[in-house]
């Protein structure tokens, strides 16, 4: 659905349904250069499981208008204001990649909003190499190509997918092309600049879940495990896939999130 928020048209996927006050809310936070389509196989699944689902396209991403935020701190503020605007007082946040940095920051600065946290292919910091940042500035389409290739494990090369007929490499590219060409470089710079992850992780006092990918080349497994160690109570699971875990192993991810949500009840 579209909302007029802070003077701009903002899109949030709710799985096609209106938000209902008495349901628990799950908020999916996408990664760099992505939009709500990162969670195509999660959004409607969890709507059917009885949750309110909100998966916003951050400003300039997907269908959302507006000036892009340029830091993780700004992402966090924008998200918390959006939730206030939607009258959502508390939610479980599921972040992917850069989205994990955003929800780490939210957990420290706005803990009152947080019911639960799921980090998907996340880490406390996501340094980005200069080559990828330069490419994202000078030749965004090449950068999309690099990211989808690095981001999926070998099954992506063979278009292996549970979705009948889907070619995830091309689809990943098409999703990134939906954004303004400047979006990816701005996101990557935001990731690169963010230094508060370790501090934010250390303040988390609730049970969390981290779902990490064995063959992740964007946020390597080692860095994901460091994040787990820095959070007081963080269960974790490692799936045999690449960085784009929500599309590579959707059913496994959904089952893990579902179990985690049940554990919060």
């Amino acid at each position: 659905m579209y909302k007029d928020f802070k003077g701009n048209k903002v899109y949030l996927s709710t799985g096609g349904l209106n938000l209902v006050n008495d349901k628990e809310t799950l908020c999916f936070v996408h990664g760099a250069g992505q939009n709500h389509y990162s969670f195509t196989q999660q959004i409607r699944y969890f709507v059917s499981q009885g949750y309110n689902v909100v998966a916003p396209d951050f400003p300039g991403h997907g269908f959302s208008e507006g000036y892009q935020t340029t830091s993780i701190e700004e992402d966090m503020l924008w998200l918390s204001e959006l939730l206030a605007f939607l009258k959502i007082e508390k939610a479980t946040f599921i972040g992917h990649s850069q989205g994990c940095l955003t929800i780490l920051e939210l957990a420290e600065k706005k803990p009152e909003l947080v019911m639960g946290l799921v980090f998907v292919a996340g880490a406390m910091s996501i340094p980005v190499n200069d080559f990828l940042i330069d490419t994202s500035i000078n030749n965004p389409e090449k950068a999309y190509d690099l990211m989808v290739t690095w981001g999926q494990d070998i099954y992506g090369s063979f278009s292996i997918s549970d979705w009948p007929g889907h070619n995830h490499l091309a689809e990943g590219n098409a999703v990134m092309k939906m954004n303004d060409p400047s979006v990816l470089s701005t996101d990557l710079k935001s990731c690169n600049l963010y230094e508060n992850g370790k501090q934010a992780a250390s303040t988390i006092n609730i049970n969390c879940l981290a779902v990490l990918a064995k063959f992740d080349m964007m946020t390597p497994l080692k860095k994901g495990l460091q994040m787990v160690e820095n959070i007081k109570q963080c269960d974790y699971k490692i799936l045999e896939c690449g960085h784009f875990l929500p599309i590579e192993q959707p059913k496994e991810l959904n089952a893990l999130i579902k179990n985690y949500l049940n554990s919060l009840k």
Partner: protein, 434 residues
């Protein structure tokens, strides 16, 4: 990390890795109508298209999905739906996008059944088509109206062998915000990938070169994922509310794959033109050798063109690789590896000579198909169009001396010898007359 494999590798591997349970290297044939659900949760998720998977073979099947994923990767599309025939594919595209009151712009030089579908069948359902010269860019642009929902053409027209200037037509379509659907049967992704030239939808008859063996009918729609369906007023079937699935918008939920999601959820569900898993398997076997076969098709076509050019029995010869073909320049640009293996030529002596030729070749098969590994021929004047006068045939873009040749993979010298026999018989008709 994944790899960006090249065409030949993808032809063999895309969509399949050895089966985890059995280690089967070949793609298994899942000859089943339906699939046992793990629990009610999974069943509901599959019915609602919340997650991927299979629930009933009319909608999807693992063997067919392998074929679809292979075709999507070969053509550079985001997703694919395979179906029972090329005509079913075209019907699925039209009905996914258009409703009564909508309008299509289509090439007037397409395969007859394509024209029939648009000119006679779809008009009964309130969908009108304006037919245009596929290479008259001005005419195409002028024909696009506010209610135009689709522009449709063939890379290489059948049987006229006109070559559509796909990159330029795609620019017009983009400017007018109308999707461009291209039938790429005659070129296959080995010779040309329309999506890379800006087309949005690719349609194949898999029965032809892609299968290549003449044993299985099939079709496919490849979605480029490069069209913005967001205008709800213009494309309500894709971006408006769907009648099922909680009234979702395919565009909002599936984005680049919205069109194929719509086709699967409505077209496959409600019309049911499903491919059989066995035919999907046969077609996959064909794809494994697609590039090898296409190279030989093109090589044999070149030699056949030389042979026919020099032959006294031939009155005219048409192929886009020939310099005198009106679309030679565009063919060279978009089909640099060759413009397919169909040759059209005229035989001296008209309709009777054509008939004699056809009846006296033995190795070349006289039948209504193209793109088989075997050389195929048809003489419309004595078969498909025998009921028409010469004048009426001309109006259909055909002449009564026209022979359509689909060059096969045999040793070309044997085909030449076979043709000489046919030409000899045709010459007798000609000499009797003179």
């Amino acid at each position: 990390m994944s790899e960006k494999y090249k065409f030949d590798t993808m032809s063999l591997h895309s969509g399949h890795v050895p089966d985890k349970e059995t280690g089967s290297r070949a793609v298994p044939i899942y000859q089943t109508t339906s699939y046992v659900f793990k629990d009610t949760d999974e069943a509901a998720a599959l019915y609602n298209m919340e997650v991927g998977g299979h629930l009933y073979t009319r909608i999807s099947n693992p063997t067919i999905a392998t074929l679809e994923q292979r075709l999507a990767s070969l053509d550079g599309g985001v997703s694919c739906v395979a179906c029972s025939s090329g005509m079913a594919a075209m019907h699925l595209v039209v009905t996914a996008i258009c409703s009564s009151g909508d309008h299509i712009v289509a090439s007037n030089k397409m395969y007859g059944a394509n024209i029939n579908l648009l000119q006679h069948t779809m008009t009964r359902f309130g969908i009108e088509t304006t037919f245009v010269n596929p290479n008259n860019l001005e005419e195409i642009e002028k024909a696009i109206k506010p209610n135009t929902k689709l522009v449709f053409g063939e890379v290489i027209g059948n049987p006229g062998l006109d070559v559509m200037n796909v990159p330029e037509v795609a620019k017009i379509c983009k400017k007018k915000n109308v999707p461009l659907a291209i039938d790429a049967t005659f070129n296959t992704p080995y010779l040309m990938k329309p999506i890379t030239y800006g087309a949005n939808i690719v349609i194949h008859s898999l029965t032809k070169w892609i299968g290549g063996h003449g044993i299985a009918i099939g079709g496919a729609i490849i979605n480029g994922g490069n069209f913005d369906w967001g205008n709800k007023e213009k494309f309500p079937t894709i971006s408006g509310s769907h009648f099922a699935l909680n009234g979702i918008s395919f565009w909002e939920e599936f984005g680049p794959s919205a069109l194929t999601a719509k086709i699967r959820a409505e077209g496959m569900y409600n019309f049911g033109p499903s491919l059989s898993p066995n035919n999907a398997f046969y077609i996959l076997q064909g794809i494994e050798t697609l590039s090898l076969r296409m190279k030989k098709h093109i090589e044999n076509t070149k030699m056949m063109l030389e042979f026919l050019k020099e032959n006294e029995a031939v009155s005219w010869l048409r192929h886009p690789d020939l310099q005198d073909h009106p679309d030679h320049k565009i063919a060279k640009k978009i089909l640099p590896l060759g413009s397919g293996s169909i040759i059209v030529f005229g035989i001296k002596g008209g309709r009777d000579a054509g008939k004699a030729f056809i009846e006296n070749v033995k190795l070349s098969s006289h039948l209504a198909n193209v793109g088989d590994a075997k050389t195929l021929l048809i003489h419309p004047g004595s078969t498909t169009h025998s009921h028409l006068s010469s004048e009426a045939m001309k109006m259909s873009g055909l002449t009564d001396d026209l022979i359509r040749l689909s060059v096969g993979l045999e040793d070309i010298e044997d085909i030449k010898i076979d043709f000489e026999k046919g030409f000899k018989a045709a010459a007798k008709i000609l000499s009797k007359r003179s």
